[in-house]
Each structure stands twice: as C-alpha cells, then as structure tokens.
Amino acid sequence: MQDKTILATHGLTRRFGGLVAVNEVDFDVASNEIHAILGPNGAGKSTLINLLSGEIPPSEGEVLYRGQSIQGKSMRQIARMGIGRSHQKTNIFPRLSCLQNCELAARIHMGGVFGSWRSRLRAHAVSERAMEMLETCRLTHRAYIPAAAMSYGEQRQLQIAMVLATAPSLMLLDEPMAGMGREETAQVTELLASLTDRYTLVLIEHDMDSVFRLADRITVMVDGSVLESGPTEQIRTSEKVRDVYLGRHDEEVTA
C-alpha cells in the first residue's frame, strides 16, 4: 500500500433534522487501496458515500480529493474530477442495451455538451472502450441485450462496468454485491480483486467473506461515528469491533 492519500475527510458531519447520520468522521483513502466501510444498518455508511461523491453536502467538515475540496461542486463536476460511484439500488438505463449503457459512461471523456456529435473515429474508440469494460466484467456475451432483460447479478456487474468506463481514479461502490447469489458474489469479488492494481476503491459491503478477502483497510462505523479504522488484520482481531458488530458473525468469520 502506498501512503499517498487520494481522498480525506476532516470532521465530516451530516445531520438530517435531529438525526446525526455521520458524526465528525475523519477518513482517508490511499491510492490503489481497497478501503471497506463496515457497520450495522443505519450506521451512516451510505450517507458517508453520498458525502464523498458530493451527492449531498455536509453539514460540517470537508471532503478533500487530491488535496482539493469538493465543496460546492456539482455531481457532474465531481464525477469529472475522477470520482465514480455505483448506487446501492440497481441504477442502469433499462431501455438501452448493455453496450449502450457502457458507451454512455465511456463517452464522458469526450468532453462538453457537444461531445455526442464527434466523429465516427471517436465513436469507434468509445465502443471499443465500452466493450473492453464489458469484457473486464465478463458481460461480452450480453452486449446487445436490453439492460432490462439481464439478470439481477448481471445488472449489478454492468453497473461496475459503467463506473469503470468513466475511467475514475477513485471508485465508490455502495454494496456492489447486495442481493446476489453465492456464485455471483464470488464472481464480483474476483472482479474487484483484479482491479486493485489500477483503481482505488471505497467499498460498502455486508458480505464479510468478500470484505476480508478484498480490503486492505477497513473502517467500522457505528451510529454515524468511526468505531475503529485500520488494516484488515487489525479489524479482524479487534475486541471492540467484535463486541459491537462482528460478534454476531463470529462463527462465519472464523470458519
């Protein structure tokens, strides 16, 4: 792991009325690491991701991406800075084909509102890149099928392919394996593991096996605050974490 920090938050807080969803979180991600966020339901994981991707503004504190605050920037600008994200809910364009979905994402590099009217040569490059991403996510055989007709697992994989196609330097994945079967989960875990040399990942995931297999570092959140943050081994053996969260999964983890 390099110690080059790509993303950092300082005292990040978000309140929804009286509820403090994220409370003074200091959090950082080094480039080329997989940083997983664990925590029980309602711990503020998704809110944290939403704050990191600029989808909602923080009540207090700031998010620094490559040393630059993302405060006041639109989602679009943040996406173009290199932060790509996937959503917990499957979030694809159902009427477009699998490949077209990916092309929409890939075309983002072409710049400007009029980027869509560029030359055929460029169009070819976009298709090629989209195809490449589908191959990475093992979806090549599904390229020409409307996204709505793909299986749930495939749609989730397509979502990852789309994030990849925007060429982000930081990927925020909100429960990429939610609702997947065992086999599909294993497949996506493999996929994510194969990305580590090129991408930096922030990952929210409930599947313990995958998290411990993938993550370089883990941050455990409870009630909006960071309970403990550190290398995977430290979290696995931490008493504090075990008490609050992992206790219930004890057998699964050690098994």
């Binding site: 639109s74 679009r76 996406a79 959503h87 477009l96 092309e103 929409l104 925007t166």
Partner: protein, 353 residues
C-alpha cells in the same frame, strides 16, 4: 434497438405517405367538389403533425411534459405575420431563418429558466410562460389584440425572379408542407438515434444517474427544448400561411393541450406516432364536429378510451399488434430474457424503420 421498429412500421408509414402525397390524384374522385376543402384540411394535418412531432422530442424522448408548447407555435405564426410587408410577399429565404432565430432565442431564454424544474413544476412553468405570452399578445395593439394579424401575402420561395414553389397555389403549398414534415421527421429520426439521442434516453430513464456519470444533463435538455421550440415555430409559421392570419388562440394553452392529446393518441416517444396522432385527432374532430355540437364530450371519451385501450397509442398498436402481444404474455417471465435477446439480435444488424 431503442427507436428501431419492426419493418411493418416503415411499410405502413410509406403507404400512408404515398396515399397522402397522391391526394391530388384521388381527391376529386372521392370528395368531388369538396376536394379543395379537403386538401386544405390535409395540409393543416401535415402542419399539426410537424407540431406534434416537435413536442414528442420533449415529452416522449426527454420525458419533459410541457403545457406551453403552443407558445412556439404561435411565436412562429406571429413572427411571420408581423415581419411580412403589407403590400408585397416576403421572401421565404428570410422568413424561415427569422422564425427559427426568434424561436431559438426565446426558447433559449425560457429554457434556461424552466429546464431545471421537473415534473409538475416543469408543466406549471411552461404553462405560465405560454399564458404570459398569450395575454401579452392578446392585449397588445401592435399584434392586433384579440383579433390577431392578417397576412396579406404568403411568402414566396424564389431564386432571383424564378419562383421555385408557388406557395399561393394550394397544391404546391400542400407539397411544401409535406416536404417540411418529412424533413422534420428524418431530422428527429437521425437525432434520436445519434449519441445525443442516447443521452436524452438516459436522461429520460434516470437523470440522476446521468449526472453521477458526469453528464451536464441540463445542457442536453436545454438543446432539446430549443430544437423542439424551433420545430414548433416552423409549424406555426406554416399554419399562419395556411390560415392567412396569426391569432392569439394559436398561443394559448388550449392549443398546447390539443397537441398533447395528439401525442397521447399517436403514441409518445416514437416520432412517427405523433404524426398518426395528429391525423387521427383531426379526422375525429372533423367527424365529431359534424355529428354534434357537444363534440368535446365525444373527443374526451375517445381520448380516455385511447389511454385505457392503447397505452402506447396508435404507434404501439403497430409496433406490437394485439395478437403478437398476446403471444408474448403467454410465455413465462423466465423465457423473457431469451426472447428479448432474439428480438435484439434480429433487429441489430439491419437498419430499418
């Protein structure tokens, strides 16, 4: 796949276009002395089809329901009427760019203000702008108030002294309108299948996701809004030429509502559907108006029935006829995937529709 339709769509549209284009050949045999009147009706339908198609870009493709689209229709009509000299015909070479320029500027101005709103708010803000212009025009002396403005001479389409198309002749004007409709149709067909169109589809399905991908969705929506406005203004200009005047009624929300009904009847988001919708609406209107003075009741019932029976309008009836739809429903959902893949594979290599 999206915006690509079965071959029968192209066949049916071609047959209908040929039938309409050949009206001067069969019109007199069928309608006798009424033929000239029918030709005028038919010309009006072509103009309204262009108008309905322009709204489809907003409503069907982008998913923005506008209740102020008649603003552009009337704007085209008034631009022509007010810019035409009183004692000689204006040149089409000047009028067309003028109408397009005026509508594009106003579209840009209104678009910037309304495009960030969504759903009901978009409906209300477009309605508000439409009504603002309506009341401004109908109380303005220079625009003839509620009487509107008469156009003494139709613009001429000529190169030097030679007339290209004699727009005063009802037959040539009919073909001129048909030509404009075809140009409009093929332009929108190209647009919806372009990357720009793909982005619009993405915005229709999930605008939030498009923003997360890094698209400036407002910019795309604004361009679509302006394009739709310019096309509606051209239709309005043609309508003013047809009627011989510009009237505040062309601007009002009634007209906006009527054109929405044409969309619903024809099938939104298909581009060719609204053309059928405009024809169907006008034909129904013609029949109902002659049958009873209470025709709005009949029309209302027809629209309600259409929504219930034909959720995707006439276009949906052609794309997926009931007998085919029934077969699809019989298959278990599990088989849906294979079927869809077959359907896509069979349509992808060919370019059709």
């Amino acid at each position: 796949m999206l915006h690509r339709y079965p071959k029968r769509v192209a066949i049916i549209m071609l047959i209908l276009t040929a039938l309409v284009a050949a009206f001067p050949l069969w019109g007199e045999a069928v309608f006798g002395t009424q033929a000239n009147f029918m030709l005028e009706k038919l010309t009006l339908m072509l103009i309204l089809a262009l108008f309905a198609m322009s709204l489809d870009l907003l409503v069907g493709i982008v998913g923005l329901v506008s209740l102020g689209h008649a603003l552009f229709f009337g704007l085209g009509a008034y631009t022509l009427a007010l810019a035409s000299p009183d004692f000689s015909p204006a040149s089409m070479w000047w009028m067309l760019p003028l109408v397009m320029g005026v509508s594009a500027s106003i579209g840009l101005f209104i678009g910037v203000l309304v495009i960030r709103t969504k759903g009901i708010f978009f409906i209300m803000t477009t309605l508000a702008f439409g009504q603002m212009l309506y009341y401004f025009i109908s109380t303005s002396q220079f625009a003839g108030g509620t009487d509107g403005v008469f156009i003494m001479f139709r613009p001429s389409l000529a190169i030097g002294e030679r007339t290209l198309v004699d727009l005063d002749n009802p037959y040539s004007f009919f073909y001129f309108c048909l030509g404009m409709l075809l140009i409009g149709y093929f332009f929108l067909r190209w647009l919806t299948r372009s990357y720009f169109g793909q982005v619009l589809d993405g915005i229709h399905d999930n605008e939030h996701r498009m923003q997360a991908l890094g698209y400036a969705t407002s910019g795309y929506k604004l361009i679509a809004f302006v394009i739709a406005g310019v096309m509606a203004a051209i239709a309005g200009m043609l309508a003013a030429m047809q009627y011989g005047f510009a009237n505040p009624a062309q601007l009002g929300w009634h007209t906006s509502g009527e054109v929405l009904m044409m969309l619903i009847l024809g099938g939104m988001g298909t581009i060719f559907g609204p053309i059928l919708g405009a024809f169907a609406y006008e034909i129904l209107l013609f029949i109902y108006e002659h049958a009873t003075t209470h025709w709005p009741i009949l029309m209302g019932l027809t629209i309600i029935a259409a929504v219930l029976v034909l959720p995707r309008g006439i276009a949906g009836l052609i794309i997926a006829p009931p007998w085919q739809r029934k077969r699809n429903n019989d298959d278990a959902p599990a088989a849906k995937k294979e079927q869809a893949s077959e359907a896509v594979q069979s349509t992808t290599p060919r370019k059709e529709g």
